[in-house]
């Protein structure tokens, strides 16, 4: 009982904002983890980052026009993702360029909207909320739309799983198997845009890549298959957001004069720490694995079979 009191400050389990935060945090963590694994494998972290900036534009624009920020995050991301795809995200060489161009334009537009939002409402709270999120202020009425968007993304990734995986490993191998690289790439870009939008309402548009890339990159270090990486990334993502929510809630009580520290800070910091720790674990793991392959012996074995084959 005393341990419980130590870990969870009074009112944690009965607080409605905490309930919403825990739910939204878990759902967005799962979507971010699944999409994040492919984002890392496809080396599209930069595209993911650009989408966060575009989501910022969408979110701040939505506030200005009086629409829900979530609609702005997702709408902006999807439009931006489509635009990046049109300009040439498919070719690795033009990918960076297209991403950079769209990113720059979107950030400029976001600056305008955030300025207008702040002057209109005469407060800087909106800017803070769009950029850095505030999972405790998410209204519970957004839960259904978050759930639907998440289900759509997870379903989409499930449907295109194998072509997406093969084209991520090698576009050549995929196209010779008849995989439509363009379609698969565009669908993934849309999934990425929605994932970024969802995690924007949890931890803010600017920070949403942290939840997208952090747990996924950690999981990829520690697992032996893509599916395993997805499961581990989901678990890490959920653990990260929940721990972040708990610490942010508790931080209210650490210093009675303060209002508590932002939950986004805790989530991002935990994701980063776990990634650093996984580096140590992975290094030991790889060292052990390299040690147990007797390369010389294996080659000797091969000699016999090949000489037979030639004969």
């Amino acid at each position: 009982m005393s341990l419980r009191r130590l870990l969870f400050e009074p009112g944690f389990f009965s607080s409605a904002p905490v309930h919403t935060a825990v739910l939204i945090g878990a759902v967005t963590a799962v979507v971010s983890a699944v999409v994040g694994v492919f984002t890392v494998v496809r080396s599209q972290s930069f595209a993911g980052h650009a989408l966060t900036d575009i989501a910022t534009t969408g979110g701040s624009g939505a506030v200005y026009f009086g629409v829900s920020p979530l609609a702005g995050f997702i709408g902006g991301g999807v439009a931006g993702g489509g635009m990046m795809d049109l300009i040439g995200v498919q070719r690795v060489r033009s990918r960076d360029l297209a991403t950079g161009i769209v990113l720059g334009a979107a950030t400029g537009l976001a600056a305008l909207f955030l300025y207008l939002d702040a002057t209109q409402s005469a407060t800087t709270g909106v800017t803070q909320q769009i950029l850095f999120g505030s999972i405790f202020t998410v209204s519970s009425s957004t839960i259904p739309i978050v759930a639907i968007c998440s289900a759509v993304v997870l379903l989409l990734i499930g449907v295109i799983y194998r072509p997406l995986l093969l084209s991520s490993i090698s576009p050549d191998l995929a196209s010779v198997r008849g995989v439509g690289l363009r379609v698969v790439g565009l669908l993934f870009m849309l999934a990425l845009a929605v994932a970024v939008g969802l995690s924007s309402i949890a931890i803010g548009s600017i920070l949403s890549t942290a939840l997208l890339i952090g747990p996924a990159a950690t999981a990829l270090r520690l697992t032996r298959s893509i599916r395993g990486a997805m499961v581990v990334a989901c678990l890490l993502g959920i653990a990260t957001t929940w721990l972040g929510v708990l610490l942010a809630y508790d931080s209210d009580y650490w210093d009675p004069s303060s209002q508590g520290l932002p939950v986004s800070f805790f989530i991002v910091a935990i994701a980063f720490l776990i990634y650093l720790l996984s580096g140590l674990a992975a290094r030991r793991h790889v060292g052990r694995r390299n040690g147990d392959i007797p390369a010389k012996e294996a080659c000797g074995l091969e000699d016999d079979t090949t000489s037979k084959a030639v004969a």
Binding site: P163, L173, G178, V179, S225
Partner: protein, 271 residues
């Protein structure tokens, strides 16, 4: 009775921005034959393979696979592309990559049946890749990765296997091993092989036929029919000598004054 060709390339032409790359290339490949597609870098070997695969449309000419015009979704062709970079950071076991050769184009997660898992094990055994089947592909050596890619291409049981420079960047021992493996695939499993290379000597012991490409044209036949001074001289459009010593072949061009510093026509070409 002679088998009908499994692959029939007739009069294929293609030009990129006005520059003729392939200018009337024709040849046939039959069941179980090992054919080397030989030519120096940049003569259009990759383009030709991509046309055969249906990934590129020729300006004119036709490619027939098993008697039928090629459609890009036909699975009678296996392909090992050039320079596949397998990332060591991606957790993919060799076995997973091979399995994607069976169903990588299909939708869904795909729970593989026992039969499919057996097919994968069988092909891993055939290419002698069992002992690293559960290692990350990105951590394997070049020769081991090549085996995995060959297994990926073969697991769907194609009748023709195309390989684009599979021997480039391999150490001499791995080259011998891969050549021996491919020879086994063609002679024992009856798979016709078309392998592109800029160096033919490693292939001489196993090649049934050769397609020698240069200057947009190609000569095909057995090695003895093609790798001759008169045939290659006609192909190059100037005199070359073919020297054979110790079972190796050297194609040597006449020194031409204007060719002194043209790297694509060195005075001594070892092929």
């Amino acid at each position: 009775m002679i088998d009908p060709p499994v692959l029939d390339v007739s009069d294929v032409r293609i030009a990129f921005s006005g520059r003729k790359i392939l200018d009337g290339v024709s040849f046939e490949i039959r069941k179980g034959e090992f054919t080397g597609l030989i030519g120096s870098n940049g003569v259009g070997k990759t383009t030709l393979l991509r046309i055969i695969l249906g990934l590129q449309r020729p300006d004119s000419g036709e490619v027939r696979v098993l008697g039928a015009p090629r459609s890009s979704r036909s699975h009678s062709l296996g392909y090992v592309p050039q320079k596949v970079v397998l990332d060591a950071d991606v957790p993919m076991r060799a076995r997973d990559l091979v399995a994607l050769g069976l169903d990588g184009h299909r939708f869904g997660f795909g729970r593989r049946s026992k039969h499919q898992r057996e097919l994968v094990n069988e092909i891993l055994h055939d290419v002698d890749a069992e002992r690293f089947a559960d290692s990350r592909v990105g951590n394997l050596s070049g020769g081991e990765q090549q085996r995995v890619l060959i297994a990926h291409a073969l697991v769907s049981r194609p009748q023709v296997l195309l390989l684009d420079e599979p021997l480039a960047n391999l150490d001499p021992k791995s080259v011998q091993e891969i050549v021996a493996l491919l020879h086994k695939v063609s002679s024992e499993h009856g798979v016709a092989i078309l392998l592109s290379a800029h160096e033919m000597n490693a292939l001489l012991p196993v090649m049934d036929r050769i397609v020698y490409v240069t200057e947009g044209r190609a000569a095909s036949g057995t090695t003895d029919e093609v790798v001759r001074s008169d045939v290659l001289s006609r192909l190059y459009g100037h005199h070359v000598d073919v020297l054979k010593l110790h079972g190796r072949v050297l194609v040597v061009a006449e020194p031409r004054p204007e060719a002194d510093h043209l790297p694509d026509h060195p005075t001594l070409t070892v092929s």
